[in-house]
């Protein structure tokens, strides 16, 4: 009989391969573009020090590096948020957007556009909207203190639906000139991402906070009763999960908009390869999600250059065939 997961026996080899893939994705993102830069020039542009000369140094340092890092951070954050959300809701179909965080962010960001505010306000609106949605869902789902999966899911889905209607209303009322900005934001677009550091810090800190609880998450995935019997404070753990996953989603969405699919599919892909041990799944999902979004964004700005595509469309176009292939191979 074929083993369930052929690579599960060598998890650290898988993690190392994913780390290499992530580095390769970042390197490609720095080299590729309308101005081709050789890997050697990239290396000296980043590590060479000094003021640097020539256009390539400026392009790599000022444009491509921040954008590539932002994509990596957001991909990692979304994949990690998806992993946590799937454990929290004990539902493999859960994604970071299911509880309305992205809807809240979109209402905030598009609201800023409709009001004609400058782009920093769009980021502030997105973050504020995401946090507001997070608090509303948390407060309403808490209700009688039971905080069951069904109640949480229903509350989230309803809040998301309300946000969806508000977004449609804003799109219908917005002047045509603002339409493209709004649509690109909704599809996910990294062209404006120039400050990756906050997201990278959140990603690193979040992973460091979540990793020690990996085995607790494995137990929680077996059910709340099992978790409590085995000494896990399930109530507190689930709250922490919700807050962490929401925060990761809010940060990612603020930076690149609602990029779809990464948060749902990356945890799945990694699970098919590594199994459902969250201690391995979390770092692997971060690396794979970061690499995927970096590659997708590089394609988005090079495929039809000088035309830039929204990266969210690319993640879906890339993710769907890969996922279908793995699923078909797996079910045999």
């Amino acid at each position: 009989m074929m083993p369930v997961r052929p690579f599960a026996a060598h998890p650290f080899a898988v993690l190392a391969a994913l780390a290499l893939a992530a580095l390769a994705a970042l390197a490609w993102a720095l080299c590729a573009g309308s101005l081709a830069v050789s890997p050697g020039e990239v290396f000296s542009a980043i590590f060479g020090g000094g003021d640097g000369e020539g256009m390539s140094v400026g392009v790599v340092r000022e444009l491509r590096l921040p954008r590539a890092l932002a994509c990596f951070a957001c991909g990692g954050l979304l994949a990690l948020a998806g992993t946590l959300m799937q454990v929290l809701l004990r539902n493999p179909l859960a994604d970071p957007y299911i509880l309305g965080i992205s809807g809240g962010a979109a209402v905030g960001a598009l609201g800023a556009v409709v009001l004609g505010l400058a782009s920093p306000w769009m980021d502030a609106g997105a973050l504020g909207g995401a946090l507001a949605a997070m608090l509303v869902v948390f407060g309403l789902a808490h209700g009688d203190g039971s905080w069951t999966q069904t109640r949480l899911l229903l509350t989230g889905v309803i809040v998301a639906a309300g946000c969806g209607a508000t977004i449609t209303l804003m799109l219908a009322l917005a002047p045509a000139a603002q339409m493209q900005t709004m649509l690109f934001w909704l599809m996910g677009d990294a062209s404006g991402a120039s400050r990756p550091w906050p997201a990278l810090v959140v990603l690193a800190a979040g992973l460091a906070v979540a990793l020690p609880f990996g085995r607790d998450l494995n137990v929680l995935a077996r059910g709340q009763l099992t978790a409590v019997v085995l000494g896990v404070d399930a109530r507190r753990l689930r709250r922490a999960l919700y807050l962490l996953a929401s925060l990761f989603t809010a940060v990612a969405v603020t930076l690149v908009g609602t990029v779809g699919f990464v948060g749902l599919v990356v945890p799945h892909l990694v699970r098919l390869v590594l199994g459902n041990d969250q201690r391995l799944l979390m770092p692997a999902a971060v690396l794979a999600g970061g690499a995927l979004l970096t590659v997708a964004d590089t394609l988005a700005r090079t495929l039809l250059a000088p035309q830039q595509l929204p990266v969210g469309v690319l993640t879906v176009l890339l993710g769907v065939p890969v996922f279908l292939f793995l699923l078909a191979r797996h079910s045999r």
Binding site: V4, S146, R215, N218, G223, V229, L230, G231, V232, N276
Partner: protein, 282 residues
């Protein structure tokens, strides 16, 4: 799967220090959910070596009582809050004073079937039972793996370690859940319908296994549906009549045709065959 000798991984490392002190003691325990009375005040002591069976019709409160005895307060139920009166002690300390991880090493609960939404191998499922024995950064060691495989041997699932849990039959999944509980190596076993989905052979084997575990210094409390098996394997019977009434005693005292007929709402006859009680519905 006939267990004559327990594997050394699962045998008790130390005998219970004071045989006179119960593993589990419930004093003046009373349970009520909203307006509904589940159990009126009763006392229970489970000593090392004893098996206790909880009987009662559907919805009489067997699961609620088991959870209360495990020191759990209404996990994940949105319904009316459970009101637990009285005191439950593990050893000589009230169960509320046990830190959760210590409690998880002392008592284990076999829940009724828990759906598993993710794919998982049998071995990783059984290893989940080792959770309370590992530190925050600890990974399952070779010793944990050998405990898990001993537990799988005990329930007759040798060679199943790498199988996908969700591809197994209901009875096999039930035995995996039992193996996970064995891997937890608690002193006190609380079993919620351990015989669910099991065929006759495995029903007897599982009860023999828990008798053997009791014989090496552990205690067992189980909710059962089979009256004859309860009469044969339990030292103490707790019968819930569903209206708050609790009958507690040996099988000879409690399992009479009259009280059974009342508790189950169906006339029953008690027949002795070769010294063992059999219960026939009329």
């Amino acid at each position: 799967m006939t267990i004559s000798v327990l594997p050394s991984e699962l045998a008790c490392p130390l005998p219970w220090p004071d045989p006179a002190r119960p593993l589990l003691a419930a004093r003046r325990l009373a349970l009520r959910r909203g307006a509904r009375e589940l159990c009126r005040e009763f006392d229970l002591e489970v000593h090392a070596g004893q098996c206790v069976a909880i009987l009662g019709r559907n919805g009489a409160g067997k699961t609620t009582l088991l959870h209360a005895l495990a020191g759990l307060h209404d996990v994940g139920k949105g319904a009316a809050a459970l009101d637990v009166r009285g005191e439950i002690c593990f050893g000589d300390r009230s169960c509320a004073d046990w830190p959760p991880v210590q409690a998880a090493r002392f008592r284990g609960l076999l829940p009724q079937r828990q759906p598993m939404p993710f794919a998982a191998s049998v071995q990783e499922t059984v290893l989940v039972g080792r959770h309370p024995h590992l530190g925050r950064w600890g990974w399952e060691s070779a010793a944990d793996v050998s405990i898990a495989s001993a537990a799988l041997d005990c329930v007759g699932l040798q060679g199943f370690a790498s199988r996908d849990l969700r591809a197994l039959s209901g009875g096999e999944q039930q035995r995996v859940a039992l193996a996970m509980l064995l891997a937890q190596t608690p002193r006190l076993f609380l079993l919620d319908e351990p015989l669910n989905h099991l065929d006759l052979h495995h029903q007897i084997a599982v009860l023999e296994l828990f008798r053997a575990l009791a014989a090496c210094g552990r205690g067992v409390v189980m909710a059962l549906h089979d009256l004859a098996l309860a009469a044969r394997y339990a030292d103490i019977i707790i019968m819930l009549d569903g209206e708050g009434g609790v009958e507690l005693g040996t099988s000879g005292d409690v399992l009479t045709a009259r009280s059974l007929s009342r508790a189950f709402g169906h006339p029953l006859r008690r027949i002795e065959v070769d010294g063992q009680a059999v219960f026939l519905p009329e």
